[in-house]
């Protein structure tokens, strides 16, 4: 299901127009992003947890050229599904 289908499906369920729904969804995501950027964890009950994790810098070697690269540290968003959800799809 792509974004378009998702929006129209959600719009149908909630009874909003597609345009409104898409706007609302992006607001929700915006709020989440903001909180995540502050280093907070977003936990949605029954769905899972979104968390920002720091990956340390590391050295990687290009297997072809044997060139060694220093990969800088980065922040990544990780998602951990709730146990309920995990069990459901097992």
């Amino acid at each position: 299901m792509n974004n378009k289908e998702f929006i129209s499906e959600l719009a149908r369920k909630l009874g909003y127009t597609n345009k409104d729904t898409s706007q609302l969804v992006s607001t929700v995501i915006g709020v989440m992003t903001q909180e995540l950027q502050e280093g907070k964890t977003v936990a949605i009950q029954g769905f899972g947890t979104f968390e920002v994790k720091k990956k340390l810098e590391r050295i990687s070697v290009n297997p072809v050229t044997q060139q060694r690269m220093l990969i800088p540290p980065k922040l990544v968003l990780s998602y951990k599904p709730s146990t309920n959800l995990r069990e459901k799809f097992k």
């Binding site: 959600l10 929700v28 907070k40 977003v42 009950q45 220093l70 959800l85």
Partner: protein
């Protein structure tokens, strides 16, 4: 820092931001996540713009071991939910670190324990320090000789001992450590040592002559040592000293090769290292902002200006203030430099221009008012 935000918090924020009723906002957020869940069960794939992609991936069954009992167990194949953040999301999350770039490492850069490039200045230090420790042996040996002119009868014994020990220790010590030994010793000591010892030697056996051979050479090094002593902390000084060490190392290698074959091994890596540091440092100083210990940082900042000027080919001078601003969360000196001068290498100018605000270039408090200097090429 690690606070938890729940669905309810999102709903509340949404009410504030969008003027929605709590009920509607709640329905929306819940509806969203329920729909993701639902869609996953029917289509195995949900893509949401701005957030990312949820996918169901199959995991093959595999064998594993029970850690407690050592029994073999089979983990059944199952599907799991994987999530890949959207590029937009990824960039937003990584924003504080976005100015870091991947750097190609030159060959021969030795970073066994830590992958941080920053280690190199430290290695130089250790290169200086380790010989010092080793030095102690010869020093102890030398001192009895110094006493010899005063108490002649007693002296003879220690001198004899010295003769026995020294050739061995020299053979063991790497050539550059020997050179280093000389350098580490206080210059005043040397002359005092030399003369009396020589007198003694003439009176005594020939074996001592080996020591004399050793002592004259140190004398050559002492002026350089005296000179670098005052500017020891500055890298240029360190480099000069290291180059001297290398030169001495080579010198000793050629003259001592027959006596100490195994001692030749150390100088080579050290030489490599120092050369590496020369090459690598100017390019990588940005990395320092990350994990620099305070004392090395001050050295680094001083250093930074030189390579940076070289790379830009022009020396700049501060002629005024472009603007002053209050530091916000997420802003760094490097970023400011990039913004105002188009190059990350210019941050030391900002540091230089704000001595009262920026005490430690690593830790600049949020909310500090920073003046951005106006730079003009020096004529």
């Amino acid at each position: 820092m690690n606070e938890k935000i729940t669905l309810q918090d999102i709903v509340e924020l949404l009410c504030l931001k969008h003027g929605m009723t709590k009920k509607n906002a709640d329905a929306l957020v819940r509806g969203m996540f329920d729909l993701i869940e639902e869609a996953l069960s029917t289509e195995k794939y949900v893509k949401i713009k701005g957030l990312g992609t949820f996918k169901l991936t199959e995991v093959d069954s595999r064998e594993s071991m029970n850690v407690n009992t050592g029994e073999r167990i089979e983990i059944q194949g199952h599907t799991k939910i994987s999530f890949t953040p959207d590029t937009v999301m990824k960039e937003l999350i990584n924003k504080p670190f976005s100015h870091f770039e991947t750097v190609v490492l030159n060959e021969g850069v030795l970073l066994e324990d830590t992958p941080v490039v920053k280690e190199e200045p430290k290695q130089e230090d250790t290169a200086d320090e380790t010989p010092e420790v080793m030095v102690e042996q010869p020093e102890v040996l030398v001192e009895p000789k110094a006493e010899t002119p005063e108490e002649v009868p007693v002296v003879e014994e220690p001198v004899l001992e010295v003769k026995v020990d020294e050739p061995e220790t020299i053979a063991l010590d790497s050539p550059d450590t020997v050179a280093e030994v000389v350098e580490e010793e206080v210059s005043t000591k040397e002359p005092v040592l030399e003369e009396p010892v020589q007198q003694q030697i003439r009176e005594e056996e020939k074996v001592v002559e080996e020591e004399i051979k050793q002592i004259p050479e140190p004398v050559v090094a002492t002026p350089a040592r005296e000179h670098s002593k005052t500017t020891f902390r500055i890298l240029i000084g360190i480099i000069i000293v290291l180059l001297l060490i290398i030169l001495f190392g080579c010198y000793w290698m050629f003259f001592r090769s027959d006596k100490a074959t195994n001692s030749q091994i150390p100088p080579a890596p050290i030489q490599e290292k120092t050369i590496e540091t020369l090459i690598v440092e100017p390019a990588k100083v940005e990395e320092d902002t990350l994990q620099v210990s305070k004392d090395t940082l001050t050295v680094q900042t001083q250093l930074e200006e030189q390579p940076e000027v070289l790379s830009e080919d022009v020396v700049y001078e501060i002629t005024g203030t472009i603007t002053s601003l209050t530091l916000e969360p997420g802003q760094t000196l490097v970023r400011l430099a990039l913004k105002y001068y188009g190059s990350k290498n210019f941050w030391p100018y900002i540091v230089q221009y704000n001595p009262d605000v920026i005490k430690d270039a690593d830790v600049v408090p949020i909310g500090a008012t920073i003046k951005i200097p106006k730079l003009q090429p020096k004529k």
